[in-house]
């Protein structure tokens, strides 16, 4: 009973944070870039969270700084999941050379830390939303593909796949009707982790100082950390919100996957 209450409470908090992240900037009136007081002012009247390193109000920047970090990873992770699943199933179903090629491609991408991919592509392509999406897809899809390929190879051992052609199905419908529903669980079970990592990567770009000077939780942390002993709120609030988003992305998707496939 107590556990249930705690779970519900956590879910409510997570939901509230995600709502703030996505719709927070609707609550902001005026320009969050306006300088209102001296840098690193502690909270006071009219400035509930104090000011940041440039003397800007922290609260509107917090409200406006999360949307990008939720929507871009969400879209990019979905893209990575679709591409990775397709690639993994292709390798697993066709086997032979296709299997070797896709698995080589995966290990190739897995050998490189994602953050290095981020830096290389920011250098090569310049900062843009498209670049960030590409980074998440390139670093995430190999993980998805690996899971999908391994599950496909396992599912292929079953007679219902080998028999499906004899029962009148085409190759395509075998993949879509027989294999896909049976690898969806492992792929989804992994999706929470992928989404959390995507949020982290997207925020890392801001944290490392790339991108426009628009409000961004990742950037706020690095910008304000030097004044943390003067006023911690410019670091703590975005840090905690970011942590809640990543943790709940991971746990909620896990729960969802477990629920959807509980049979």
């Amino acid at each position: 009973m107590l556990w249930r209450a705690v779970t519900v409470l956590l879910a409510v908090v997570a939901l509230a944070v995600v709502l703030v992240a996505v719709f927070g900037d609707l609550l902001v009136s005026g320009d969050p870039g306006r300088i209102v007081a001296i840098p690193y002012s502690p909270p006071g009247p009219g400035l509930p969270l104090g000011t940041d390193y440039a003397g800007r109000d922290v609260l509107p920047r917090v409200l406006a700084g999360g949307r990008f970090l939720v929507l871009v990873p969400l879209f990019a992770t979905a893209l990575a999941a679709v591409l990775g699943t397709a690639l993994g199933m292709l390798g697993g179903y066709l086997g032979g050379v296709a299997n070797v090629l896709t698995s080589r491609l995966d290990t190739l991408m897995l050998a490189v830390p994602p953050i290095l991919v981020l830096l290389v592509l920011l250098n090569g392509w310049g900062y843009s939303t498209a670049t960030l999406i590409a980074i998440v897809v390139i670093t995430g899809a190999p993980f998805v593909s690996r899971v999908a390929r391994a599950s496909t190879l396992q599912v292929m051992q079953n007679d219902y796949v080998t028999q499906s052609i004899a029962l009148g199905e085409s190759r395509l419908s075998t993949v879509v009707r027989e294999i896909l529903p049976n690898i969806a669980h492992p792929v989804l079970a992994d999706a929470g982790t992928r989404l959390a990592i995507a949020v982290t990567l997207t925020a890392s770009a801001g944290f490392l100082g790339f991108g426009p000077d628009a409000p961004n939780w990742g950037a706020m942390i690095s910008q304000n950390i030097e004044g943390i002993s003067l006023t911690p709120w410019g670091v703590v609030v975005p840090a905690v919100l970011l942590a809640v988003v990543t943790v709940s992305a991971n746990i909620l998707l896990d729960r969802f996957a477990a629920k959807a496939f509980s049979r």
């Binding site: 080589r104 050998a111 953050i115 290095l116 830096l119 250098n123 982290t200």
Partner: protein, 318 residues
Amino acid sequence: MTMLYYIGRRVAAALLTLIAVSAVLLAASEVLPGDAASASLGITSTPEEVQALRDQLGLDRPLPVRYVEWMGGALRGDLGVSIMARRPVTEVVSAPLADTTLLVFLAAAVTVPLSVLIGVLGAVRRGRRLDRALTAGAVVTVSVPQFVMASLLVLVFSSTLHLLPAVSLAPVGGGPLDRPEILVLPVLALAGFATAWASRLVRAAVIDANAAPNVEAARLAGLPERVVVWRHVLPATVGPCVQAFAWLISGLFGGTAVVEQVFNYRGLSYVLVDAVRNHDTAVLEGVGLLLATIILVAFIIADVLALLANPKLRTATA
């Protein structure tokens, strides 16, 4: 004999991977050619000046040609010249690389024993309160971005408790080891994440091994629990664990890129971020190549260790 063959195959595969990684690296970091030259000269430069520098750097020659030259140089220990510093890349990177590697190895030294301890503990107490608490802690720790974790560590241990320095700058003319206390928080930030991640894999490996029929048979044969665990359970976990620890090296190097920034630790992160900001592509490519090499070597070592721990692979005759 067959083992050497197996190791040889792994090394060959790693070399191929390295060649592929480096090619992708070169191609991806230079999709916008020319920028390197104009970025280096600044916005006031004339097109003629930019062209002159492009010629000097050889940026107009086809990519494959430059790739071969670059790899040829790399084999001789020459990674090109940094446009910004106007010094060889190897010279620019060597000190920061050493400092970052120090951080990674310290973090690994903390992570490996700790994650084995936590993982085995969780597996032994599977489903009990301790295991559930460890699991929840690990999921949270793994999900939180490392720079967030690092910032919160600064808040707690520096600005609130005043126990440790918030900034990890080495003394002038010295290295980080001259002031070891500056290493504590960065290593903690790296190891926290890594331990949470690796302990999950250790736990899974131990649970797997413990559920194997040979372990049940050993228990039903009346062997003492100590013998069952050491002789029948743990040998089967060596393979998966060393593989996990190889991944760890890759993950830790990735982690340093953000953690160093939080603590102002002058390692590779600053070199890399400056390189991207200034379009100093040669530095970026050089560091990328070095890191990929280190990670692949870690993978090979893990493969060999896993091989030694598995008699089936060790004695294979094909």
